[in-house]
């Protein structure tokens, strides 16, 4: 099926009608292309090496996540949410349950807040390391990629210790977490945050920050001005690299971020290099957050009180007490489950890629009536045609890499 342009007879920016420019040719970039990393397609109109027009064609991975969200209950949907941004799955889980808990009016325990903060920051590090490493890889710097991926492996080990799953932990639950963490997990994080990561970060910095090839290929490429960033709803590191001072962790503090000391990272250039620098600095800030949070995890229960009737009781309560057993039944029977208020609510968290929001409409049942996701990748990919126009075809991987498009989140 050929993709039709919005208006095939329209004048392209150069001022001449399309028919007069027979030397323009069309290049199909993707859907399977090593430099796109994920399944997305671009139809590029080229004038020699220069891109005159780029039309993204998405939807190859659309699998109806939002429709599933209307069928699965608040805990079940977490496994689907996990698979949206599969580079940092736990950040999506936290965003989803942040919204659901807000809808139900649950205040999670301090211990849960701290552990969620730590894993959210680990997810951010995992995401940024992939983005930095993969964009370097696309531009020919394979060593930087290896250093970054080495650290991501350690983050996966931490997730495995915590939940038993490496990629999609499905660790958060309404009102708490799947299980409590133990001391070896904390020891693992200490080692990662104090010893392993700072070393790797310094290595990647030394490899890339003043690397002539890397700087030449990213500086001044894909410039996004501050006004455009706001007008086109860019958020997260991409907006901050354009000078938009907005970070939901600071502006609308959630979890334990209000207690922790960290800085918002902004840059002014708005080009690929600025986005790279912002991500590298954010990695350092995330490491700082983890170092503080891991020493300050409060004692206490991981889940909210069983009396609230909102949280799955742990196994010993289910099997050894009648209240626990009844509560377990209440949440798992198809005709019981939660009774949230008949209301609708939007809540957002700062995911690694930007503002990850959920608009949940509830009709009083145990599952959402509508579970809308505000996916940052979707909005950032709509920036792409504007960023790439006028640049060369070799800049496509640089811009794509700096936007960090995750197709599963893009298409849902």
């Amino acid at each position: 099926m050929p993709l039709t342009l919005a208006n095939p007879n329209a004048q392209i920016e150069t001022g001449e009608a399309v028919s007069d420019q027979e030397y323009l040719y069309t290049l199909n970039f993707g859907p399977q292309h090593p430099a796109t990393h994920t399944t997305l397609r671009l139809i590029l109109t080229l004038d020699g090496e220069v891109i005159v027009k780029a039309v993204p064609d998405i939807g190859y991975l659309h699998s109806g996540f939002e429709k599933l969200g209307e069928d699965l209950d608040f805990n079940q949907y977490v496994t689907v949410v996990d698979r949206m941004n599969y580079i940092s799955p736990i950040a999506n889980e936290i965003a989803w349950h942040h919204t659901v808990e807000k809808l139900m009016g649950i205040e999670i325990t301090p211990r849960c807040k701290y552990i969620r903060t730590i894993i959210a920051e680990l997810a951010r590090m995992s995401d940024h390391l992939l983005c930095v490493g993969a964009s370097a890889l696309d531009l020919g710097g394979i060593t930087g990629f290896l250093y970054a991926f080495n650290e991501r492996e350690k983050i996966y080990n931490i997730f495995e210790t915590m939940s038993g799953q490496r990629f999609h932990p499905s660790f958060s639950r309404v009102g708490g977490l799947m299980m409590d963490v133990n001391d070896s997990w904390i020891e693992q994080i200490r080692k990662f945050a104090h010893h392993d990561f700072p070393k790797a970060h310094a290595d990647v910095t030394r490899l890339l920050n003043r690397n002539k090839i890397f700087v030449d290929r990213t500086k001044g490429i894909g410039v996004l001005s501050r006004e455009e960033a706001i007008n086109r709803s860019a958020t997260g590191p991409i907006a901050r690299a354009s000078g938009v001072q907005r970070d939901l962790r600071i502006d609308e503090p959630y979890l334990a971020y209000a207690d922790l000391d960290f800085e918002m990272v902004c840059a002014e250039g708005g080009d690929c290099y600025s986005r790279y620098l912002v991500r590298m600095e954010e990695l350092k800030e995330s490491c700082k957050i983890i170092q503080q949070a891991v020493e300050n995890i409060p004692f206490g229960p991981i889940n909210v009180d069983l009396e609230s009737k909102q949280v799955i009781p742990d196994k010993s309560a289910t099997y050894r007490s009648i209240e626990g057993l009844i509560q377990h039944f209440e949440l798992f029977m198809w005709n019981r489950r939660w009774t949230p208020p008949i209301e609708e609510l939007y809540a957002a968290t700062e995911a690694p890629n930007g503002e990850l929001g959920f608009y949940v409409v509830s009709n009083g049942n145990g599952h959402a009536y509508r579970a809308r996701t505000r996916p940052p990748s979707f909005i950032h990919f709509s920036l792409f045609p504007m960023l790439i126009e006028g640049h060369q075809i070799s800049d496509v991987p640089a811009v794509l890499g700096s936007l960090n498009i995750i197709a599963a989140e893009l298409d849902r």
């Binding site: 069928d71 706001i230 609708e344 609510l345 809540a347 608009y359 849902r412």
Partner: protein
């Protein structure tokens, strides 16, 4: 903090918009006819310069809902960090809402997605095509009358045979 309700009341004295609050969400229900006027005012005068989110909802079977489709605009201000949700409602047989692409370029794909999933037309949109689903798809899957399970359009898709390819 800007008192949005008061400033709306003083600017449009003859209009009454229902305002509601839930947790920290502030919502204003605006009819489709006034939508662009209110959004322009919010953007230009009250500095709600970012459209954080735009989503569609099908209220078929929803308890005590009178209109079928809802379109929500979550605006945020990068200056005051305030948020406001503008909700508007539209109905069958031809659900139409004016496009906000002239105000926020970021609404372009978001509106296309709502059109793709709900069939709500955005009048004045520069390029209203399906975005996630293939162009030959005929129905709108996030509508509540679209089944979750069972055979659907996918089974009717034309399959390429070896001779054709």
């Amino acid at each position: 903090m800007i008192d949005i309700e008061a400033s709306l009341k003083s600017t449009f004295p003859d209009k009454v918009y229902a305002k509601s609050e839930f947790r920290d969400n502030q919502r204003i229900d605006v009819p489709v006819s006034d939508l662009i006027m209110v959004l322009t005012y919010l953007k230009n005068q009250l500095k709600f310069d970012m459209l954080a989110e735009l989503c569609g909802i099908d209220y078929l079977q929803y308890p005590s809902a009178r209109d079928r489709y809802g379109v929500n605009y979550v605006l945020s201000s990068t200056e005051t960090n305030q948020r406001i949700i503008i909700r508007t409602k539209t109905n069958d047989p031809d659900p139409v809402v004016p496009s906000v692409v002239p105000l926020w370029e970021g609404a372009n794909w978001l509106e296309r997605e709502v059109f793709d999933m709900f069939g709500i037309r955005f009048e004045g949109h520069p390029d209203l095509r399906r975005i996630l689903l293939p162009p030959e798809f005929v129905s709108y899957p996030l509508r509540k009358d679209y089944p979750l399970r069972g055979k659907g359009e996918r089974h009717n898709f034309h399959q390429l045979t070896r001779a054709e390819s």
